[in-house]
Each structure stands twice: as structure tokens, then as C-alpha cells.
Amino acid sequence: MLQIAGLESGYGGSRVLRGIAFGVAQGESVALLGRNGMGKTTLLRSIMGLLPARAGEIRFAGARIDGRRPEQVAKAGIAFVPQGREIFAELTVEENLLLGAMGRRGLGAAVPEAIYGRFPILKERRNQRGGTLSGGQQQQLAIGRALAGRPRLLLLDEPSEGLQPSIVLEVAAALRREIEEQDLTLITVEQNVDLALRVADRCLFLENGALVAEAPSAELRRDPTLLHKHLAI
């Protein structure tokens, strides 16, 4: 589904990503782990086209997407939930979701009823302004908005940030169901190992802008050596 080879990217004069190469299969869920400042967010932003790739290539469903603008990447079927969620605080919950649907499927698109089924709180609060929701509800709204466009690949940046543990579990369960029922492919950047191991089939470790290790989540649960080595636990 997604194939990355020799990807280099960065901000201004600094090179953040150094020769990243990995692939994600359809319906697979992968977590990107690593300490702060290792390039995880930069990698997601590069895939999305928010940051130009300086070298290497990114292929999605067979077609090159590096060098495309974010709206073209989104149209191709990739959705991105950034760190801090970036919901439209002034717009209602329903309008936020509607924008997710319209972005990918045209101005006439409707919010898929399945989104409200997945996140019932959003249905309850549909006429409330996004800014009035709690952190956990905003995260659900951001994910719901991304899913409203029916993407094939979802990029999540720190979904657990600022959420209480019970909400993290709820979000993890909703994502897991989306992967299994909708054949969604997922790449999650996480600091929260618990969420990462729950959601992802496989974990990749990023250090100083390069991939240094990878392991299936099941294995990491049995033997957390890699987690201790690459994360500050």
C-alpha cells in the first residue's frame, strides 16, 4: 500500500530524515516509536506533502506521491490527524465532519453514518462548536473527520497526547475496529507504548532520522528490550 525508499527531508538547512525506507501493507497497522525530536512527525508531514521530500520516493498504491501537494495526497486516499488535533474550533462538530467528507469526495458529500456509530459522543454533540469539546472528544472528532473522507491510509500523530488513560483505551479500540472492519491501513506516531502496542501489528523505531529497528507488537509485549533501548522508559 505505502512504499518509502531513500526518503530525505528536513526544515531549512537541517536534514531531519536520513534515508528512510519501509513499507506498509494494506490493512496493516504500524506504529512509529522513538524519543522526541527523532523525526517521527517530520516523516508523517513528508508523506502528507506538507514538507517536500529532498530525495527518495514515496509510493502509495503504486503511484508516486512525493512532490504532490497535501490536497492531492488527501484525494489519493491518505488522511492525516496532526498533533494537537487541529479541529476547527469555531465550527460545529457536524461541520468539522462534513469538511472531512467534502475534502475528499466533493462539496455534495455527506457525513457517513458509520462515523457517528463509531463515535456516538459526536452524534450527541453534533451541533456544538468543536472548541467546546473536551480533549478526548476533540481527538475523536479529529479522527472522525479524517475517517469521514473514507481514506485508505490514516496517519495519526500522537493521538494519546493529553488524554486520560480510559479515553486512550477507547480511542485504541475504535481504531482497531476501523482497521478490522474497514480494511483501513494505519500509521501511528506514539509516545504512549501501551496505545502503540494495542493498535499496531508492528513497531518501527526511529532514531536521529533513521529507522534503526523493527519488531512485531506481540514480540515486544513478551520481550520489551527494544522498547527500553529506544524509548525513555
Binding site: 488527501a74 496532526p82 469538511l99 475534502g103 479524517a146 473522507g149
Partner: protein
């Protein structure tokens, strides 16, 4: 009684004319953060388009529609050639649009000369309003202004297009990540603002002297209306225009136009001191 009614009508007329001119300006300034110094010249182009087409023998109504569309197209061109390269460079947009304003104004002088043109209103009737005769065309202008305000609010707050445009304005990157074509919305929003200036110019042409300086007289009160009312919300300039227009025309007719200027600017200074973001500015994030 007649005097009071006439005063109210004139005040309402002036307020609505400022709203008509300010609406295009506020869409571009308030929503896209571009101060369009060439807005007055777009107004000018609208007026000249109407005059030229009428002199060529076409009807006023064709001229009105053509002026709106043509100036909208000029706005599209301006956005594509100049403005899109300097979004987020606030001072540069002032300089660049100022340059454009000089270009357009001098172009008009080269083509049509510095003198005044004039054109006739499509109807010259006087309507009898509660015993006071009032030019029907002035009522028409007020109607157009009200329609423009209502139409703009409808477009931006009741349609899918408006929802997407507001999302692009609120956060470009987020809107782009959802797949919304941000460039298309920039173009459309700028062209819409320009088209409103063209429409305002064409509507006003029959009751004023159509000369290369005509844009200036409305640009200053329009900017004042935005500053006083606040640019963060479309309602801001409507409120600002109401305050400025009403103060100006009431003071001018009761005392003198000079005193009216003094009062209006004093009021603007006080309003900006009390509400630095404009009276409705607090609604912005």
C-alpha cells in the same frame, strides 16, 4: 418631518453605499489578510466598464452584469499574477496592491483621459415616500447593497462553499490535508471580493462623476468601517459602516461636512482605542 425623513434616507443611503464598497474589501482584508489598496481602482474599473458599454449603446443592465464579471476576472488575474506570491507578507501586499492601483489608474487616464465621464441612471423617477419625493435610483442602490450583504452572508455562512472557504481561512494546512483545494478557494474568494467592487462602481456611476479619482472617496470610509467594526467577522464592517455613515451624514446635514469629518475620525479613534480589534473583533480566535 420631511427634513427628518430625508435626513434618515440620506444617512441610510450613505451607510449602505459604504457597506457595498467595504464588503468586497473586507472579504479580501478580513478573510485573506490582504490589504487591497487597489480596491478603489477595481471600483473605478466597474464604473468605467458601465460607462463605456452604455456609450456603445448597450443597456444599463448588461453594463452592470458585465462590470461585475469583468472586474471579477481582473481580480482573478491580480491574484494569480501578484497576490498569491505574497500571502503572509503583509507589508508587501500593501506595496504591491498600491502599485497595481497606480497602474490601473494611469491606464484608465491613458485610455480615457483625466476628465470626468458621466452616464445616466436607468430610471430617473422620483418616488413619493410619505409625502417626500426621493430618487428611485437611490432606493435601488440601497436595495443592491442589502442584497449584496444578504447574499454574501448566505454564501459564506449557509452554503457548503462558504463552509469550505471558512475552513481554508481558519487553517490552510488542515484544510489541505482534508483534500480541500485551497488554491481554488483563494482564487474564488479574491475574485468575489473584486467582483463586488466592480458591481459597486457600476451601481454608483450614474450618481457620481466618473473620473480616475472616484475610488478614493469611498475607500477611506470603507477602511474606517472595517477598523471600527472589526475584520474578524463579516458583520463587523456592516456595523462599522453603520456607525461611520450615520455619524457622517447626520453631522454633515445638521452642521457642516467639515465638522462631520472631525466627528467621524474622532469617533474612529475612540472606537479603535476602546476596541483595538474592532467592535466585533473579540469574536476572533
Amino acid at each position: 418631518m420631511d427634513q427628518v425623513l430625508l435626513l434618515l434616507l440620506d444617512a441610510a443611503n450613505y451607510v449602505l453605499v459604504i457597506v457595498l464598497v467595504a464588503m468586497g474589501l473586507v472579504i479580501v482584508f478580513g478573510l485573506m489578510r490582504v490589504i487591497n489598496m487597489a480596491h478603489g481602482e477595481l471600483f473605478l474599473l466597474g464604473a468605467y466598464t458601465l460607462v463605456m458599454l452604455q456609450q456603445a449603446g448597450l443597456s444599463y443592465w448588461i453594463g452592470l452584469v458585465a462590470a461585475t464579471l469583468l472586474v471579477g476576472a481582473v481580480g482573478l488575474l491580480m491574484e494569480e499574477l501578484v497576490i498569491r506570491h505574497i500571502y503572509h507578507r503583509f507589508l508587501d501586499t500593501i506595496l504591491a496592491t498600491w502599485g497595481l492601483s497606480i497602474m490601473i489608474k494611469q491606464g484608465v487616464i491613458l485610455l480615457f483621459g483625466p476628465g470626468a465621464q458621466s452616464t445616466a441612471a436607468p430610471f430617473a423617477a422620483q418616488l413619493d415616500l410619505f409625502g417626500t419625493p426621493y430618487p428611485a435610483y437611490r432606493l435601488f442602490i440601497m436595495g443592491v447593497a442589502l442584497l449584496v450583504v444578504a447574499g454574501t452572508f448566505y454564501l459564506f455562512f449557509r452554503t457548503r462553499f462558504g463552509l469550505a472557504a471558512r475552513a481554508v481561512i481558519a487553517s490552510r494546512d488542515t484544510a489541505a490535508c482534508l483534500g480541500l483545494p485551497t488554491r481554488a478557494f483563494d482564487r474564488a474568494t479574491f475574485a468575489y471580493g473584486a467582483a463586488l467592487a466592480g458591481l459597486a462602481g457600476a451601481v454608483m456611476a450614474p450618481i457620481m462623476s466618473v473620473d480616475p479619482q472616484m475610488g478614493l472617496g469611498f475607500l477611506i470610509p470603507a477602511f474606517l468601517a472595517i477598523l471600527v467594526g472589526g475584520a474578524g467577522h463579516l458583520g463587523g464592517p456592516v456595523l462599522g459602516a453603520g456607525l461611520i455613515g450615520a455619524t457622517d451624514s447626520v453631522t454633515a446635514s445638521l452642521w457642516s461636512p467639515v465638522l462631520a469629518q472631525v466627528v467621524v475620525f474622532t469617533m474612529a479613534v475612540v472606537a479603535i482605542r476602546l476596541f483595538p480589534g474592532g467592535i466585533l473583533g473579540g469574536r476572533r480566535r
